[in-house]
Amino acid sequence: MGRGMNKIALQLLLVASLFAALEQAHGIPAFARKYGLPCSACHEAWPMLNNFGQTFKDNGYQLGNGRDAPIYQEPSYWPVMFRTQGFWHRENNNRQAVDSVPGSAGSGQVEASLTTSGFDVGGVDFITAGTLYNNISFFVQPFIGNNNITLSQAWARLDNIAGSRWLNVKLGKFELDQPISQERSLILNNTGALYYNYFFTPPGDNNFFQGVGLPQLGVELAGHSANDYTRYSVALVSNSNGSPNLPSNKAYDVYANFNQAFEVPHLGSQQIGVYGYFGESPTYYQTSGGNPIPGTGLGNKSFYRVGAYGHWYVDKFDFYTFFMHGSDNVFLGNSVASNHPENLPLGAVGPTWNGGFVEGHYNPTPRWIFLGRYELARMSRQANPSIRSDAGNLDTWTLGYRWYPIMSPRAGLAWTQEYSRITNPGAAPISGLDNIRNTYLMGFDFDF
């Protein structure tokens, strides 16, 4: 009995020692390497920024402590980091069209529930960023996928022009000042990682909008108060969804964002904001041999996305609330060239819809974050009256957590587990019933 108790006590002591050792380690992610700060200084839980990190970013990756210029760094310091993931995941789609006899295209199709699972990796983000000089910052981010390399972001920024933090100009390919950053999503799996409202396209619409969600090519004017409680940004971007080489379709889009935060005693910071994206997309192109020539879009028609959002803190809990209203021109909504209005279906109108999400976090320590998100989109007016009213609607939710067991002086490591589910009413390809996809993922997310 006594020896048994001693053994249990020893085991408990060993476990306690392990946790104690982990709790005493603190991390320095890429930028923090330059300043010697822990990653928790800038991140609520990386990659999600806290207000100090947002201020640092808005200030051109500068702390303003007289140690920002590269001249203060060791000559060998090279501001490079990478981020990647290794994980196991399982996905199930409840109604997917399959050949009734596998391998026989003529056997007819039926719906089947398909499940896939296995180990995987998430590609690699390389990021080099920082300051070229006092008040000149930069960011370059190549992404290596399974079969390709893309340039996610590449920009330079003039910071604090004329000594004013209200005047900062960025040029290149960059993430817009989104209400909630798609690039900093805490969720990794295929189903839950996207903020669907950022990419929503109504049924029958050919305006495959990605303007808010993906980095865009353009120029941005932005500014902020000293504590970042008041922020604004206005961007003029090419209508190319971020694709380089001038497929801009002779149109420019405008995005604007404004937010204001307040300190509420006993609760914390409360932020509200409004945003809008206004643009045009081509409805047809110059062609060669019948094939559209990129960058020659014609018959541009308008669309917009507008909305409001909030970020609410209740001590260690925080919640994002987000609303979006979207509208596309009737020609875009029906995928009809504007020089052929006779092709519009009877009763055609511009589609409109509303959407939003609530995302909550519980962050008891810098090492743990528990998260949940519910997102929805609802069509309020279909472009073509023959389309069922709820086509395109979606409901998705995610539950998960991230644990940061090791945050060494040069790296960060997160263990994550998450479950996501998306429901598209009436989207099953044959039966017209609800289409549901479930995803479970667990694995490591790490950077160095």
Partner: protein
């Protein structure tokens, strides 16, 4: 019986007094804010521990690479104060340092944190030294109205800069390369460089002329920068301030817009 009651009463009173002193040391008071050390500890762990260390002794993991070294809170010696040299700072002094940062060091401005959070951090920083339980902060120094900057005041300041030996550390051109610069050390024996007055409009403990005047009165405790309270009159200190400003003539030295308290 009566003596026994008196002894018991005295013991209870002493315990209550000690408890109240201890509780007070767990708090900070900045304006209408009351900082709480328990909440401050969580914030310290998130933001400060990597430089100042888990024990507050300035020996965090990043300290090795930092110049100047992070402050050792266990010694209760602080550079930026409104109180005389050798005395404890006010809570507002610590709050202002956290809010403003310390220019030309690794300490950034933590103004993006909530005011309550900064007050909580002050409360926790005070727990690292028993001095905050045993002593009271000094009385804030008085800063008289600033006379106008004139060619004469600058000239007088230049002469004082020589006679007071400011140049031996800060250099004749104010760049911090005086003949004594290489020999200077802080109160823990770490090498420390004199401030470069040509680097801009900000100083270690603020950016207004009043801030610089105050530094001349209080000194920067824990560094070789002494108090000149007995060595110069108030007018002479203003003259030195006016002269030092000429080292960064291309920069504006308009009044600071810091989120500071009590200045």
């Amino acid at each position: 019986m009566r003596t026994s009651f008196k002894k018991t009463f005295a013991a209870v009173a002493a315990l209550v007094f000690l408890w109240s002193m201890s509780a007070a040391s767990q708090e900070s008071h900045i304006g209408n804010l009351t900082g709480n050390a328990k909440r401050g500890k969580a914030l310290y762990t998130r933001y400060c521990i990597y430089c100042h260390g888990p024990e507050g002794d300035g020996r965090g993991e990043s300290a090795l690479y930092m110049d100047p070294k992070p402050r050792d809170f266990t010694k209760a010696v602080f550079k930026c104060r409104s109180t005389p040299s050798g005395t404890l700072p006010l809570d507002t002094d610590l709050y202002n340092t956290i809010s403003r940062g310390v220019h030309a060091s690794g300490m950034p401005s933590w103004k993006p944190l909530l005011r309550q959070e900064r007050a909580d951090l002050v409360a926790y920083v005070k727990t690292f030294s028993s001095a905050f339980q045993e002593e009271k902060p000094g009385e804030p120094v008085v800063i008289p109205a600033e006379p106008a900057t004139t060619a004469e005041s600058i000239k007088r300041g230049a002469e004082l800069f020589q006679t007071m030996n400011c140049w031996s550390c800060h250099g004749k051109d104010g760049r911090g390369h005086g003949p004594s610069a290489a020999t200077l050390a802080d109160n823990k024996g770490n090498p420390i460089a004199p401030f470069d007055f040509t680097s801009g409009t900000q100083f270690k403990c603020g950016e207004t002329n009043r801030d610089m005047f105050r530094d001349l009165v209080t000194g920067l405790d824990g560094t070789p920068m002494p108090s000149f309270v007995g060595a110069m009159t108030a007018d002479q200190r203003w003259d030195v301030v006016h002269y030092i400003r000429t080292f960064a003539t291309s920069k504006s030295h308009a009044a600071a817009k810091n989120d500071t308290v009590g200045q």
